[in-house]
């Protein structure tokens, strides 16, 4: 049981020295990733890191590459589908070897973009052509282009709502709750499904609704200077109060701790769940589930967050992963060529039923109900996202993490002590302190 002492000490010393030796960080070198002028000139093998393992496995990505090669014959594109994308790429980004084109992991601080990615051009030019450029704008340069974007809203089963006697979209949170009540009393469906166990449906869809309430493009940026984001009638207050009320009034599933996302798609398609807050990307998935279950895919409806400003609904329009070029890439021109081609010419966004990053591209069919009802799109400003994320991390609240809303639900259903007001006060206080510390 006792290791020989001198050797142990020697090893520990070596370890410490090795640790100290590793501490030097590397900063990126290399210039802009310029779009090539002549497709015949670019060559090289590039690696594309993607979280869409399904598309890599099904061969869909290879088909895109083959199509790409018709224009750029000398570029060889290889794909690496990564299941735990965030976790794995974050660690790989400590080295220089993280592909040529990759999706920017959410953990990378916005201000660190210039250290990891090659600039794609001046934002002033880029924003004319692309949506969502603000998200990757650092110092007037754009570092990433969205693979696609989605609008936020509630997915609901039209047949169930009709059976409950609701035909119009609710315009206030109270109306929404009343509608859920009608669903509960007149049908067998669970009025709302939280997906508590899987967690992520509690994080991004709810936080993405910041802006839908106030109809304010700068709603997210305001969090950087807001000392009390959960104060009465603020976006977060309205959003989280609605979630609290849904659970507190027992309109959510009975046992949230054992929910299952994959199964929830079938349940919604079959009318066993009446609604879920998600992005428009989920519409096609739900329709597929309905087809597989032998139900009518047209029963899958999509409606905006139940708040109106001046008689109009607002829905946030947000970008999915942003594609960027590795600053250490040896084939920047080829990488840029792929990035541009994939965004503009591949038809990927249309296929996914999502909003294209190209401003000139038409809105997808899945958003037709929004178009028909004059829902205003809010393309949220991302100018201060870096600061907001810094405060968010420092406060350990996690606006785009599941934990704090899981606790909110626990309070609402009485599984943890506390009250809604008390919890909002606590969140406000934590945010305020972190904001002061982070120099917000």
């Amino acid at each position: 049981m006792k290791p020989s002492k001198p050797l142990g000490v020697a090893l520990l010393t070596t370890a410490m020295l090795a640790a100290a030796g590793c501490s030097g960080g590397s900063t990126g070198t290399g210039g802009e990733a310029k779009a090539p002028t002549d497709p015949k000139d670019v060559s090289g093998t590039i690696t594309v890191l993607t979280h869409r393992t399904d598309l890599v496995q099904s061969g869909a990505m290879k088909k895109y590459a083959a199509e790409f090669n018709k224009t750029y014959p000398k570029v060889k594109v290889k794909f690496e589908g990564i299941t735990d994308y965030e976790g794995e790429v974050k660690i790989r980004m400590n080295t220089e070897n993280y592909g040529d084109v990759l999706m920017i992991p959410a953990v990378i601080g916005k201000n660190d973009y210039p250290k990891f990615f090659a600039p794609l051009g001046d934002t002033a030019d880029m924003e004319k052509k692309y949506r969502f450029t603000g998200k990757t704008d650092v110092g007037g340069k754009t570092y990433g282009v969205a693979s696609f974007g989605t609008a936020n809203g509630f997915l609901y089963n039209k047949a169930v709502w009709k059976k409950a006697g609701v035909t119009d979209w609710p315009t206030t949170p109270q109306e929404f709750l009343d509608d859920l009540k009608a669903v509960k009393s007149r049908t067998d469906a669970v009025p709302y499904y939280t997906n508590f166990k899987d967690g992520w449906p509690l994080s991004s869809p709810w936080s993405n609704s910041i802006g839908s309430v106030s109809c304010d493009v700068k709603a997210n940026d305001k969090l950087a200077s807001d000392k009390k984001p959960w104060a009465a009638s603020s976006d977060l207050n309205v959003i989280d109060t609605l979630l609290y009320d849904i659970v507190h009034d027992k309109y959510a599933e009975k046992d949230p701790t054992t929910t299952n996302w994959e199964n929830s798609k079938n349940l919604l398609a079959k009318g066993k769940i009446s609604s879920m807050l998600l992005g428009s990307w989920a519409v096609t998935q739900m329709q597929d589930a309905a087809k597989k279950a032998g139900e009518n895919p047209d029963d899958i409806g999509f409606m905006p967050f139940p708040v109106q400003k001046d008689g109009k609904f607002c829905a946030t329009l947000l970008s999915d992963y942003q594609q960027a070029v590795n600053i250490h890439s040896e084939h920047k021109a080829a990488a840029r060529a792929w990035l541009d081609w994939f965004t503009e010419k591949s038809g990927y966004a249309a296929k996914e039923g999502a909003v294209s990053a190209l401003r000139s591209a038409p809105m997808p069919v899945t958003l037709k109900p929004y178009e028909d009802n004059d829902v205003e799109y809010i393309e949220r400003s991302e100018a201060k996202t870096g600061q907001v994320n810094a405060i968010d991390n420092a406060s350990e609240i996690g606006l785009s993490k599941q934990d704090y809303r899981q606790k909110l639900i626990d309070i609402a259903r009485g599984a943890q002590k506390g009250s809604l007001e008390g919890y909002f006060d606590e969140l406000d206080q934590r945010w305020g302190e972190a904001s002061a510390a982070a120099g917000g």
């Binding site: 049981m1 006792k2 290791p3 020989s4 050797l7 090893l11 520990l12 070596t14 370890a15 410490m16 090795a18 640790a19 100290a20 590793c22 501490s23 960080g25 590397s26 900063t27 976790g87 974050k90 980004m93 400590n94 992991p105 953990v107 990378i108 601080g109 660190d112 250290k115 508590f196 166990k197 967690g199 009975k254 046992d255 949230p256 701790t257 054992t258 991390n393 350990e396 996690g398 993490k401 599941q402 934990d403 899981q406 606790k407 626990d410 259903r413 009485g414 599984a415 943890q416």
Partner: protein, 339 residues
């Protein structure tokens, strides 16, 4: 623990061999000695005695080169790095990191919510006690001649062989509303619809129950091995003297397996403090089931506080080392002598 033990035994042997002087030294095995003397091929002195001497000294180290390199690369360097990170404000990706001194440690000890999660460990500690008692009981019973003895051994050990992730998923269905547990209970008329993972107390108890189910097999096998190493004549003699089963256990088995028992207690305590996969997969720490390790993982990978998380890991390491040390002090590792 495991690697430390292996390391010490591996290094002790060769070092003493290396210091043995000259070719005439008796090799511990005594196997190569007759070969070196009687074999006709080794007769011609191809190598000078000095070179042989050097070779003899170096050889064990050459053999150790690979394991040592692996050990240093994958154990000591990461631990060193972790200790270094715990003094920085590193976020896990940024090329910049600043030394912040003991700031992370001060935070850890001044923010009560970071330490409060240790209370969850008491559920697992209580479960470990249950686990050891069950394992000991079955090990004792199955060490005597019984029908289907091997079958029962297999059944008890089986859960330990299943991957922890799979167990998490299986038990998620088990505890589901209207799941296996509810239906089994309803056969006996005790069917309610209790949300087993619904509130903190029942969730923690349920999760601790899963960990008992999983790890009893390991304790059981350890105990069984130890019990079977007790010479059989002792039981016979005890039986002739009229000792009951309980007396046999009390005076022969219990003292005979004392070292294994104390090892199990150390493993149980450190295991309870470092519970991770079962609650992480089943509840991901929601509803008050978060443990210290889950919290550490969340700090590191959700809030990008790699520095603070490293400090958490260092503190956990120190706590476990401390407990082990205290435990070894209280129950010294003495030789078992039953006769």
């Amino acid at each position: 623990m495991g690697s430390g033990g292996k390391f010490s035994s591996a290094s002790a042997g060769p070092t003493s061999r290396g210091s043995a002087p000259g070719p005439a030294a008796q090799s511990p095995q005594g196997l190569d000695k007759p070969a070196a003397q009687s074999s006709p091929w080794v007769e011609k002195p191809a190598q000078t005695p000095q070179r042989l001497d050097v070779l003899r000294k170096v050889t064990p180290w050459l053999f150790l080169l690979v394991p040592l390199a692996l050990l240093i690369t994958f154990t000591y360097v990461p631990v060193g790095n972790m200790i270094y990170y715990s003094f920085t404000d590193w976020d896990g990706v940024s090329p910049e990191r600043n030394l912040t001194g003991v700031d992370n440690y001060t935070q850890l000890f001044t923010r009560p919510e970071l330490f409060r999660v240790f209370f969850v460990s008491f559920y697992y500690l209580a479960a470990s006690a249950v686990q050891i008692v069950i394992a000991l009981y079955f090990a004792t019973v199955l060490s005597f001649d019984l029908r289907f003895r091997n079958l029962f051994k297999g059944i008890l050990f089986f859960p330990y062989l299943i991957n922890g992730v799979a167990i998490g998923f299986v038990f998620l269905y088990f505890f589901q509303d209207g799941g296996t547990l509810d239906s089994v209970l309803s056969w006996f008329g005790a069917g309610g619809d209790h949300a087993w993972l619904g509130d903190a107390e029942s969730a923690n108890t349920s999760l601790a129950g899963v960990s008992v189910w999983r790890f009893t097999g390991l304790n059981f096998v350890l105990f069984l091995g130890a019990i079977q190493s007790i010479p059989g004549e002792l039981y016979e003699a005890a039986q002739l003297d009229g000792a009951s089963r309980w007396q046999q256990f009390r005076h022969i088995i219990a003292p005979g397996i004392k070292p294994v028992l104390s090892l199990s207690v150390i493993l149980a305590v450190s295991g309870s403090l470092a519970v991770f996969e079962i609650p992480y997969i089943m509840t991901s720490g929601a509803t008050g089931t978060s443990t210290f390790v889950i919290q550490t993982v969340k700090l590191a990978f959700q809030f990008n506080k790699t520095g603070l998380a490293s400090a958490c890991a260092v503190v956990l390491l120190l706590i476990i080392l401390l407990i082990t040390w205290i435990q070894r002090r209280l129950v010294p590792d003495e030789k078992v002598d039953l006769v």
